[in-house]
Assembly symmetry: C2
Homo-oligomer: 113 residues x 2
């Protein structure tokens, strides 16, 4: 492990490792801020289990909560996803080259048909 250790980055990547948590982020993105109850309706697990997922997202800085009456409105905090993008971008040219190569190959097969 190199000396440049980024704990915030670790938390974000770890949070994204769960399909449940990725889906929560998508829901908040597409449907806007919502109380826990409505979010949880999309999943079959027990409430405390879902609370745990929200805690992981909160600690990664990916969601924020606001108390409204007896509800808690969760909203997306997308800024930490910027770090993921930053990590990803130096790889981009590698997969583009590969996908371009694949496309060329398919075109070639097309020509030979």
């Amino acid at each position: 492990m190199p000396p440049t250790h980024a704990p915030a980055e670790d938390l974000v990547f770890a949070a994204l490792a769960s399909p449940v948590r990725r889906e929560v982020l998508r829901l908040l993105r597409d449907e806007g801020p919502q109380p826990v109850q409505r979010l949880a309706g999309n999943f079959t697990m027990a409430r405390p289990s879902f609370s745990e997922h929200l805690r992981v997202l909160r600690e990664a800085g990916l969601v924020a909560e606001r108390k409204v009456g007896r509800q808690r409105l969760y909203r997306l905090e997308a800024v930490p996803l910027n770090e993921v993008q930053q990590w990803l971008s130096p790889f981009e040219r590698f997969w583009r080259e590969r996908l371009a190569g694949l496309r060329d190959l398919l075109d070639q097969m097309d020509d030979e048909r």
Copy 2:
């Protein structure tokens, strides 16, 4: 969980959850294909532990191996990272808005100084 379940995506995100594995991908990107020994030199863990990380990366399709004599050359397979990018991109406008807002605020404070 929605019916659209992507097991390949799960494997990729899970593989990226470890800082060790992210560093391996970076090394393969920056230094090109290398045998296990040279890769492992960057980490302090025992060899079998490192082999395990390579297995996770292989099963996610993020690296490929080629036998050369008694060595195994590992190389980056960046295409699955495209899926991560695809997942990420609908969030991009959200963090850009936030970062732009933050920048404006800082400019404003600058003006008032």
